[in-house]
């Protein structure tokens, strides 16, 4: 059982006030807060062993390199990748996706088909549209139903021997739906297509096992898992990473350089041109250590409690509608009050010290599906409490009163 009061002490930011009120932070799906244990690692890096890695013969460089590579192992273990070099440390989910999209530009041919889902974040739509424009491949979309779930029968119909790639998020950022990625991967592999799973929203809540999933690519960002911004990961099966061309040219990613010919470094360095976010990578490892010490089973169980409590309490408010009502969802509640713009609710909640996200959540196709300008999204993390949910519910009631 998770001791939330003890956990909250790890997060200094949770003590601050916003607009004179104690902060209630419910924008965790946008970015999570950082525990002192991770902040300490960042401070320690710059205070004691800041140096460029992989090249130096001096002690600091060696120390920084060791810690950076140790972080890669932590990420490898967390996602249960077979080899450490199947983990590419990137600037985040978006860069990871673009890296793969860029690589497939030299593989796809005109008339090939790629499939995305209707539940995607713009960052998992636009790079593939660009890829299709470049290669002449055709983009197909798995539709969703009123509950915000993917229609799996339609997915099966979309698959054919023309399908080369499938991109789906593990969990929808706008609605919280957990997608049946095991089935999606299995069916894609039957027609010989590769699958990329965007795990940005999943990793704060569950611990994916890339080998058990048999997924080809899995991507995530550190800043949604208690780590810093500007760092993330790409897992790729060795055979795929070997097949894909380098993403960016520069230092670190080379083996031999002459003006006649350059040969590239092996994995993972082939995809890690230039000086990486060294401190960020090390802190990413520390963040995973922190979350694993709490335990994802405990996190999942506690967040489910928060989700059920929040859903029940919010639905007591008349004219409140929740978008994304799948039974299989994480602790994200996207809602609107009838006849009231989400921006107005978000603005008033902010005045009460409550941080939520309003707008289309970078998922305009989902908003178009429901024919709404956006939603108010409250997303809970394992350090949130039921008392904070009570504050949110009271805040929404007050906003409703002011706006009606």
């Amino acid at each position: 059982m998770l001791d939330v009061n003890k956990i909250r002490k790890d997060f200094p930011i949770l003590n601050r006030k916003v607009n004179g009120k104690p902060l209630v932070y419910f924008d965790n799906a946008a970015t999570s807060q950082t525990p002192q244990q991770v902040i300490d690692v960042i401070v320690d890096y710059y205070s004691n062993y800041n140096a460029n890695i992989h090249r130096g013969v001096h002690a600091l460089s060696q120390e920084a390199t060791d810690k950076y590579e140790a972080a890669r192992h932590t990420v490898q273990n967390h996602f249960n990748a077979k080899h450490p070099y199947e983990i590419i440390l990137t600037a985040g989910t978006t860069e990871s996706i673009n890296l793969v999209a860029h690589g497939f530009a030299s593989i796809l041919k005109k008339g090939d088909e790629v499939i995305v889902s209707a539940l995607e974040h713009h960052s998992n739509i636009v790079p593939w549209q660009m890829l299709c424009e470049k290669t002449g491949a055709i983009l197909k979309v798995i539709p969703m139903n009123q509950e915000g779930e993917l229609v799996m029968d339609s997915y099966t119909e979309l698959l054919s021997d023309k399908t080369k790639l499938v991109f789906v998020n593990h969990i929808s950022n706008a609605l919280g739906t957990v997608n049946p990625i095991e089935k999606i991967i299995e069916q894609a592999h039957k027609v010989g297509a590769a699958v990329l799973i965007d795990g940005a929203q999943a990793c704060p809540h569950i611990k994916p096992d890339v080998q058990a999933l048999d997924v080809d690519f899995y991507v995530a960002s550190a800043h949604k898992i208690c780590g810093p911004t500007g760092v993330g990961m790409l897992y790729g099966k060795e055979e795929w990473l070997t097949k894909l061309p380098p993403y960016q040219g520069g230092g670190e990613m080379i083996d031999q350089v002459s003006f006649e010919k350059t040969t590239y470094a092996g994995l993972p360095h082939k995809f890690e041109a230039g000086t990486p976010n060294i401190c960020g990578g090390i802190a990413f490892g520390a963040a995973l250590d922190y979350m694993n010490a709490i335990g994802f089973d405990a996190i999942e169980a506690y967040e489910k409690e928060l989700l059920d409590y929040g859903t029940e309490k919010l639905l007591e408010i008349e004219s409140l509608k929740i978008y994304g009502t799948s039974k299989n969802k994480t602790s994200v509640i996207s809602f609107n009050l009838e006849g009231i713009h989400p921006y107005d609710i978000g603005t008033l909640l902010d005045k009460m010290g409550i941080a939520v996200r309003t707008g289309h959540h970078c998922a305009q196709p989902i908003m178009a599906f429901f024919n709404i300008p956006g939603t108010v999204r409250a997303s809970f993390a394992f350090y949130n409490t039921k008392e904070e949910i009570d504050t949110l519910v009271a805040g929404v009631k007050k906003a409703k009163m002011m706006l009606s």
Partner: protein, 141 residues
């Protein structure tokens, strides 16, 4: 006729009477509700200012060398601020509109709504008001 400065001072005076954010925001919400809606014929794609979060429509006409603005938004707080801006800038000479600033928004505690990152269309709306003033200035008789 009141000058833009006089109107702005008057608005600052009114807001100074509010004791907390709730009174301030309730007032803006009420202003938003009272704002005469833009005539539907002007609520077109051309007149829309897309602000990502909320949308704003602005229409301008000049009569007797003065520009009058009508506007609307899909969010009520945005509408409230629009009502304040229209009160300050409507029925004014183009040159006066161009010379005026929007510092009074800061003085009434609504600065955050005019942040370029707020994505509510208001910053673009002010730009649009000024653009109309530039355009109509060439037609002043």
């Amino acid at each position: 006729m009141q000058s833009i400065q006089e109107i702005q001072d008057e608005i600052i005076d009114e807001f100074s009477m509010f004791e907390d954010w709730e009174e301030r925001y309730q007032y803006m919400i009420d202003l938003g509700k009272d704002l005469p809606l833009i005539d539907d014929q002007f609520k077109t794609e051309d007149n829309i200012i897309k602000g990502c979060q909320s949308k704003v429509w602005v229409h301008a006409e000049m009569d007797d060398n003065k520009i009058s603005f009508t506007a609307d938004s899909d969010a009520i707080i945005t509408k409230g601020i629009i009502a304040i801006l229209i009160r300050a800038f409507s029925n004014q000479h183009p040159k006066d509109i161009l010379d005026a600033n929007t510092d009074f928004i800061d003085a009434i505690g609504l600065k955050e709504h005019l942040s370029p990152t707020r994505a509510n269309g208001l910053v673009s709306m002010i730009k649009q008001i000024k653009m109309y003033a530039i355009a109509y200035q060439t037609q002043v008789k």
